[in-house]
């Protein structure tokens, strides 16, 4: 930003190609749809975040004195529903993936642009139903909707919420379908599978899970709705059903869904680490295949959520050993990222700080997952704050960190402008500190035996809960800062130019923001992926004077 010779914005790009609300609401341009998704997920993130704040305030004191028990139950349920189904699952694929998959593979758009738009509408319709459920009084079953509580006993808006989740599932399915077809059929000439950015591999693996898993939770939620509507008993023991079957079907999707959330994040981190250490990724093939391995093995471990639920001893053993297996591909990734830094040229711009934060927090989150796969230990920590801490390390420490890193990294590509890097680094640091202060004490709380979803708790747990709430307030501030400076940058940010980071990848070879058709001519790929430091490939960072892009 010290550069005096600012590059200029291209005259015509996807943002100014057309004007008016209609040009956005009826667009089939994947980049504009990505922006629509960005608005949607940001909204739901702050809605879910607001619920989280209220939950943490309640837990400041042992007595249930801030809100009523029933309200509290609705708060954590709505927090879970909004965050899981409307933020964590769609965000990276639908925002970054939507924007970048065609750009990275040198295509003009996704294979089915109108289906892409349809999936945004489906997402928003699902969100509308869930908001409606919230406005009508909320739902109090927990985001897991366990029967028979959800089917028979709860008298809150389970149906509306269920419909919302059911509908949103189809948005996920259509996005996954679109990605798979696009990646198979629309790669630029010369872009072989092993020249693809690992971001693409990660999204391919994610899409497989979306396709194979989502329909199962859709039918499960549908059966639950039928059960409530017609008083039939598919999952209700009073009517001959088995509540554990609901858990099987629910987790068949909802465990792999964890990989829907984290795999795209891993994909983002590959791009960040290589760019900001100017290194070819270490172990490209191993990382690529580990994404696919996670997607496939991820389907074989679901019942580790059910070790104390009445699962048979033998089934528990099988699911335990399979759960350990799925840890290996994750470990491979972490080791390879670390090795990529070795002898690199590491710079500390904000996206890189997020990426390094991701590696650390994901490592801790992943390792604590091993505790939950270990049968005897899981008996003790299941359904306690240990589990809560574990999945927040994966979800918030992993997925959200990666998303923030990716959003910053590709922000200049999406908007054509830079954000203030000092503020961004500061925010990254605040988020990292706030996050750890919020969630690390919860590991201890969990091992001490504090059950999750408790409105009031015994006094000896208070100190740790106060620490956690204090951390949450820091974390909350950390998430607000980027919101403001990113808004600011839209108007006042320095012009970025096509490749402000000196990064590799096709998306950086087109102007920022890109034209509607992405590339003036279909690019031809002759290079291996991440050829940083190759002879004749001098990095062109925006910290260095450069030519204004021709348009």
């Amino acid at each position: 930003m010290t550069d005096a010779r600012q590059p200029a914005l291209p005259k015509l790009h996807y943002l100014n190609a057309d004007y008016g609300i209609k040009s956005w609401l009826l667009t089939t341009d994947h980049k504009r749809i990505a922006i629509l998704y960005l608005l949607g997920v940001t909204f739901f993130f702050f809605v879910g975040g607001l619920f989280a704040v209220l939950v943490r305030v309640e837990l400041l004191t042992p007595a249930g004195d801030f809100v009523q028990a029933e309200t509290y139950n609705k708060l954590f349920t709505m927090h879970g529903v909004f965050m899981v189904f409307f933020f964590l699952i769609p965000t990276i694929p639908a925002v970054l993936g939507n924007f970048l998959v065609p750009l990275m593979i040198g295509a003009r758009d996704l294979a089915f642009p109108r289906i892409n738009l349809l999936s945004w509408y489906i997402y928003m319709a699902g969100g509308a139903f869930t908001i409606l459920a919230m406005a009508a009084g909320g739902v109090d079953t927990g985001w897991t909707f366990y029967t028979p509580y959800s089917s028979t006993y709860a008298n809150t808006h389970v149906m509306l919420t269920g419909i919302g989740v059911f509908i949103t599932g189809f948005s996920s399915i259509l996005t996954g379908l679109n990605f798979i077809v696009t990646i198979h059929k629309m790669r630029a000439p010369g872009l072989t599978w092993f020249r693809l950015p690992l971001f693409i591999w990660a999204h391919y693996a994610t899409s497989l899970i979306m396709i194979l898993g989502t329909p199962v939770v859709a039918i499960t939620v549908l059966l639950l709705a039928l059960e409530r509507a017609f008083r039939i008993g598919i999952f209700d023991p009073a009517l001959g059903g088995d509540p554990v079957l609901f858990q099987h079907l629910f987790w068949f999707y909802s465990h792999p869904a964890v990989y829907i959330m984290i795999l795209p994040g891993m994909g983002v981190v590959n791009e960040l680490i290589t760019c900001f250490s100017r290194k070819k990724i270490f172990g490209y093939h191993f990382i690529a295949f580990s994404s696919v391995a996670i997607a496939l093995l991820g389907f074989l471990v679901w019942a580790h959520h059910m070790f104390v639920a009445g699962l048979s001893v033998y089934a528990s053993l099988v699911f335990s050993v399979l759960s350990f297996l799925v840890a290996i591909p994750s470990a491979i990734k972490v080791f390879n990222w670390t090795a990529t830094l070795y002898k690199g040229s590491v710079s500390y711009q904000a996206p890189m700080l997020y990426a390094m934060g991701f590696i650390g927090l994901f490592t801790l989150g992943g390792l604590t997952g091993l505790f939950l796969a270990t049968l005897a230990v899981d008996i003790h920590v299941h359904d306690t704050y240990f589990v809560v801490a574990h999945f927040h390390y994966i979800m918030v420490g992993g997925m959200v960190m990666a998303y923030m890193g990716g959003l910053h990294y590709w922000w200049p590509k999406m908007t054509g402008r830079m954000y203030p890097d000092t503020w961004a680094r500061f925010a990254a640091l605040v988020i990292f500190i706030g996050f750890n202060l919020t969630f690390f004490p919860q590991f201890v709380l969990g091992y001490l035996g504090m059950p999750r979803r408790y409105h009031a708790y015994p006094e000896e747990f208070q100190v740790l809960n106060v620490m956690s709430t204090a951390g949450a307030s820091i974390l909350g501030v950390g998430y607000l800062i980027p919101f403001f400076y990113l808004m600011y940058s839209l108007r006042y940010g320095a012009i970025a130019g096509p490749n402000p980071w000196g990064a590799k990848g096709l998306e950086w070879e087109t102007p920022s923001p890109p034209p509607t058709e992405n590339f003036p001519v279909t690019p031809m790929v002759t290079e291996e992926p991440y050829e940083y430091g190759a002879p004749g490939a001098a990095p062109r960072g925006h910290v260095r004077p450069q030519e204004a892009p021709g348009d």
Binding site: V313, G360, A373, D383
Partner: protein
């Protein structure tokens, strides 16, 4: 008074020490890898920081050996975790045969407990120290989970199906009892305490208030009250199967299948008599669904189980 933040709950059962040991092993392994990764990332980031804008770092050759090493070694470590965890888990799922039997019924939002001697309590569980205790549990409504952190044990309590838990307390004292599976509005109020007592004190506590009848006697009373004995007797014209000596043995059904007469089967036969009729009998028994409480069913079960010891005349 500030006593620092505790890191472990009290150890008050035979499992507690073993689970903690395994937990410490996991903490050690995780700690090692977390510190190693953090250190390496930090060290590389500082050591190889970008010194000028045009810096081009040297290429580093990939290493298949490294890749294999960091795949296989973690795999080995996780298999140790699996084996250790599984071995301990087997112990936790296999109650010793001499265990003291107690019964737990969960409902929104309380725990109801019955002792074999007939003593009943709510949200409290008194147990003797140093004796294995086996809990047979069922829920009247939604799924609950019976959790005693100091014992490191937890088991979901399901409606319509018995689940089981056992432990051996090692230290007298009072410990938390939690419901760990979300069960509705007052989920966090579904708590209680476990009181571990010396054997003598426990005996005294049992004798403390007149209890009336034992579980088996209560079951026998229900058996007569509900006229079960008009059909289930050991005379030749019995319309129902003889129960003396039946429990725990296999029996052939009208459909040709064979089932073992266990708690689940007897329970099903009381509530859903037409489901699995014993060969040679007609499905004439009326259902007792909604007429006998879960506690009543448990009492009947205790009685029918006691008939195992009484041989057929």
């Amino acid at each position: 008074m500030w006593t620092g933040i505790p890191l472990f709950p009290e150890q008050a059962s035979t499992f507690a020490r073993e689970v903690d040991l395994l937990y410490l092993f996991l903490v050690g392994v995780s700690g090692f890898f977390t510190v190693a990764i953090f250190t390496l990332v930090f060290y590389f980031a500082v050591r190889y920081r970008r010194r000028h804008a045009d810096e081009i770092p040297p290429a580093v050759a990939e290493s298949a050996t490294l890749e294999i090493a960091w795949s296989v070694i973690p795999l080995g470590i996780t298999m140790v975790m699996f084996g250790w965890g599984a071995k301990l888990y087997f112990e936790m799922r296999k109650p010793p045969s001499e265990a003291l039997q107690m019964w737990v019924v969960g409902k929104q939002w309380m725990w109801k407990i019955q002792h074999p001697e007939g003593k009943r309590e709510i949200n409290e569980l008194h147990v003797p120290v140093g004796r294995p205790v086996r809990l047979q549990m069922i829920s009247e409504d939604v799924i609950h989970s019976f959790y005693i952190p100091a014992f490191r044990i937890k088991q979901d309590v399901l409606p319509g199906r018995y689940s089981e838990l056992w432990f051996e307390a090692t230290r007298p004292g009072e410990y938390h009892l939690f419901c760990a599976e979300y069960c509705g509005t007052k989920h966090s109020g579904m708590i209680g305490k476990v009181v571990v007592m010396e054997a003598a004190a426990y005996e005294q506590w049992l004798m403390g208030t007149p209890t009336g009848e034992t579980m088996e006697q209560a079951g026998e009373r229900l058996f007569v009250q509900n006229n079960c004995n008009t059909c289930h007797h050991d005379r030749a014209d019995a319309r129902g199967p003889v129960l003396q000596g039946a429990f725990g043995k296999p029996v052939r059904l009208e459909s040709g299948q064979t089932v073992v007469v266990d708690e689940a089967y007897v329970r099903e036969s009381i509530l859903n008599p037409a489901g699995k009729v014993v060969a040679g009998y007609r499905p004439v028994m009326p259902t007792y669904q909604g007429q006998i409480s879960e506690e009543g069913v448990l009492q009947l079960l205790a009685y029918i189980r006691s008939l195992r010891e009484r041989p057929q005349k």
